[in-house]
């Protein structure tokens, strides 16, 4: 490792340890430097954090032209050739190619418009993009037709980038309109926006449609939620082409989910939260799939197998969490504060809610019913032990309230409320 690499690694590690406020401050300092693109290397490994915090950053030609591509970008090491994704390492050659071949007057205008603006200036970003994106798409289309070789490896990404830039404005608007979290299902307004986007994409052909469908699908809790508007018949494309496109999205989705479930089952370190999110995503995907099953060529065996494996993961995680929390629940010394388990307990709540949709619903129900009895008895026993010791048994005591909270998170509010009412002598809810 060279000195520079070692220093870079050290700084990256130090940045990872900083809190959000300091991280934002460091980003702001980097952005103020004249040669900030060199220092970008420092924050490059922290892209997920940047995406979460979204600090205002200076608007530049590169940033605006990349905006419609954001949803398709992946780190170079995660890129799978042939997928509908663009590795970040291809951005630099694409940027230079576009900047070189664009009308110099347009480039000057863009630079002038962006001077001193930040990503918080959404109006400027859109106004510039409205002129820049179609022009950039034309440049890439031209290059692909005539000077493909000049793009080298990035040529494969240039095609995808051209599709996205050609519908840049609609794409950016639609993605801004979608909820921040992954989408369970589209609301009416979102669905309409998604269909309009798919329509625009379809005008450039099946690849463009499949690409946009794939990107929208990746934003959905259930990636298959996108299949419904795709198949709704409102896109001007032959039924065969539409079906082919939908089959491809469905197949890719089943493969992805199957891979994720297998990885989660194999990895004992998977957090309950991540496992619960995955279970929800799979169930949501399978439900959407069943809604459009008659219109698609779906591998039913793969669906059954995926359901079984998901149920396995749900049960495994529930057992693990219940056992782990119970140990601390019975520990009077409060060695590990119970609030540390709140996130794990919330994960079980989510699994409990989706259980009826899994084939193990009754098994999981039995498991939870037995656990409720064990936990409520343990709660009573805990109070009795405190009473014997002469310690306060007031329900407001933190260690008592923590236990009630855990019961609420694991088994639902009615169980905890009824326990609280019983011990506080209040009227029981009906």
């Amino acid at each position: 490792m060279t000195n520079r690499q070692a220093l870079l690694a050290q700084l990256t590690k130090a940045l990872a340890a900083t809190d959000d406020a300091k991280f934002r401050a460091v980003v702001a300092v980097i952005d103020r430097q004249p040669r900030h693109h060199v220092l970008e290397l420092l924050i490059a490994p922290h892209r997920p954090r940047l995406a979460r915090l979204k600090p205002p950053r200076p608007l530049t030609f590169h940033r605006v032209v990349t905006l419609p591509l954001e949803a398709a970008l992946v780190p170079a090491e995660d890129w799978v050739p042939g997928s509908y994704r663009i590795p970040r390492s291809h951005l630099a050659p694409l940027h230079s190619a576009m900047r070189e071949r664009l009308d110099p007057e347009l480039v000057d205008w863009v630079d002038r418009m962006l001077a001193g603006k930040t990503t918080a200036d959404a109006g400027v970003e859109r106004a510039v993009g409205r002129r820049l994106w179609p022009a950039a798409a034309e440049v890439l289309d031209g290059l692909l037709a005539t000077g493909r070789k000049s793009l080298g490896e990035a040529a494969v990404s240039a095609r995808l980038a051209a599709h996205l830039l050609a519908i840049g404005e609609r794409l950016v608007e639609t993605f801004w309109q979608l909820p921040p979290q992954s989408i369970l299902c589209f609301s009416g307004e979102e669905r309409r926006a998604a269909i309009e986007l798919l329509k625009d994409a379809a005008q450039r052909g099946t690849e463009s449609l499949a690409l946009v469908a794939d990107l929208l699908g990746a934003r959905c809790q259930s990636p298959l939620a996108i299949l419904e508007p795709l198949l709704a018949g409102e896109i001007s494309m032959s039924p065969r082409d539409k079906r082919e496109c939908a089959d491809r999205v469905a197949e890719a989705c089943l493969e992805d989910l199957g891979g994720e479930i297998a990885a989660a089952l194999a990895d004992e370190e998977t957090t309950p939260q991540a496992a619960a999110e995955l279970v929800l995503r799979v169930m949501s995907g399978l439900e959407s799939l069943s809604d459009v099953a008659t219109k698609l060529d779906i591998d039913r065996h793969a669906v059954r197998q995926l359901t079984r494996r998901t149920a396995e993961l749900a049960e495994q995680v529930t057992r693990r969490v219940l056992k782990q929390i119970k140990q601390s629940f019975d520990d009077d010394t409060d060695g590990v504060p119970l609030y540390n388990y709140e996130r794990a307990a919330r994960a079980v709540t989510k699994i409990r809610l989706v259980a009826p949709k899994l084939v193990i619903a009754s098994k999981l129900d039995d498991l939870l019913r037995c656990a409720i009895e064990r936990y409520t008895s343990a709660f009573d026993a805990f109070l009795a032990r405190r009473r014997e010791r002469g310690a306060s048994t007031a329900l407001e005591e933190p260690s008592i309230m923590e236990r009630l909270r855990i019961i609420e998170l694991l088994f639902g509010s009615p169980v905890a409320v009824s326990l609280w009412e019983r011990h506080s002598g209040r009227r029981t809810a009906v």
């Binding site: 309109q177 979608l178 909820p179 921040p180 989706v354 949709k357 009630l404 609420e408 409320v417």
Partner: protein
């Protein structure tokens, strides 16, 4: 200017819109507590079906909604102990419940920090009041820690030292939000500056063709500016009043209840705004989707239009409506969404000065 005159011209907040209660149960989002015409406490709940109008539920029966969270069940029990509805009363109840940990560890720590800070400012304000009284009576030196000076200060007023201290404590406890900058920072001034920031941000936010979100942004900005102007005036007025310790003590002797009510005018005017500002601030400035979600949530916290109330709806009918809405959302995805809303409401509690 006498304090009596100040009180008589003071802005009168609309008590009919009630006080925002920081419930965590998703179906209770934006619930407001008020005293009805018969003096009984009732909750104004948004139509659970999402339509127009509000439901009026007597506070006594609100806990019968089976999906009520543990935090809300305990808060409900605390609210029942209140003698009057006021933002301060509701805030103290909510803080107590948060301190017990019913809304999680984050909210508990936030409540602890808020309680500590408030206690410090109450002490500072109390000392200032005693000092100003002592100075007016010709006493010297610090009075807050000594017993002799207050006695000097009370000479001729017929108040013993203990009563005087109690008066100072009480005025300070009710007036702590007002503060006396720069020596004693004002909680209300902090809220006002957040409101101004919110209004500025929303003024520059709209016009992106976001339909309903744009409308909400305009409405919230308008309300924010109105609140800022009204509460700003009242805050200035009451900071002047607080600076005049002897006049306050005089009024406390003759019109204690009126004085304590007037000290809460800013609390009424600013009620619910810290939550709205916290919701907006929690959304990153460059994340429009997140900001839109925040705006929709903020809209639920705005006071409902009184003319849309379903006055005829009794508690049972409202509880039935809530139950129906719950039964209708039997889809597991809806239930997961409700669980996530509950989690977010609790996280928000940790962001607020409880």
């Amino acid at each position: 200017m006498s304090s009596r005159k100040a009180a008589s011209t003071a802005h009168r907040p609309d008590h009919d819109t009630g006080v925002v209660v920081p419930f965590t149960t998703p179906q209770f989002t934006g619930a407001r507590l008020r005293a009805n015409r018969k003096g009984r406490f009732e909750l104004m709940l948004r139509n659970p079906a999402g339509g127009r109008g509000v439901y009026l539920v007597e506070l006594e029966v609100a806990h019968r909604f089976s999906a009520i969270s543990l935090h809300d069940r305990i808060l409900h029990a605390e609210l029942l102990k209140l003698l009057r509805v006021s933002p301060r009363g509701v805030r103290l109840c909510a803080r107590r419940v948060a301190l017990w940990g019913a809304a999680g560890q984050g909210a508990r720590l936030a409540a602890q920090a808020a309680a500590r800070e408030e206690e410090e400012r109450v002490t500072q304000l109390r000392d200032h009041l005693l000092d100003s009284l002592s100075a007016a009576a010709g006493g010297e030196g610090p009075t807050a820690n000594g017993a002799a000076q207050p006695r000097t200060a009370t000479a001729g007023r017929g108040l013993d030292e203990r009563t005087l201290r109690r008066a100072a404590e009480e005025i300070a406890a009710y007036g702590v939000g007002i503060g006396l900058p720069p020596a004693i920072p004002s909680f209300h001034a902090e809220t006002l500056s957040q409101i101004a920031e919110l209004a500025d941000a929303l003024d520059g936010w709209g016009g992106e063709g976001n339909g309903r979100s744009d409308e909400i942004a305009v409405e919230v900005s308008r309300l924010a500016r109105e609140t800022h102007a009204a509460a700003g005036r009242e805050l200035e007025r009451w900071q002047r009043e607080l600076a005049d310790g002897p006049a306050l003590f005089a009024r406390w002797q003759t019109d204690r209840a009126g004085l304590l009510d007037d000290l809460q005018i800013c609390d009424w005017l600013l009620d619910g705004w810290p939550d709205r500002c916290a919701l907006w601030n929690a959304a990153p400035v460059t994340d429009r989707a997140c900001q839109r979600a925040a705006l929709k949530h903020i809209a639920k916290l705005l006071p409902p239009a009184i003319e849309t109330e379903r006055e005829a709806c009794d508690g049972d009918e409202a509880i039935d409506a809530l139950r129906r809405a719950l039964r209708e959302s039997t889809d597991w995805r809806d239930e997961v969404r409700l669980a996530e809303i509950l989690e977010r409401q609790e996280a928000l509690r940790a962001e607020l000065p409880a």
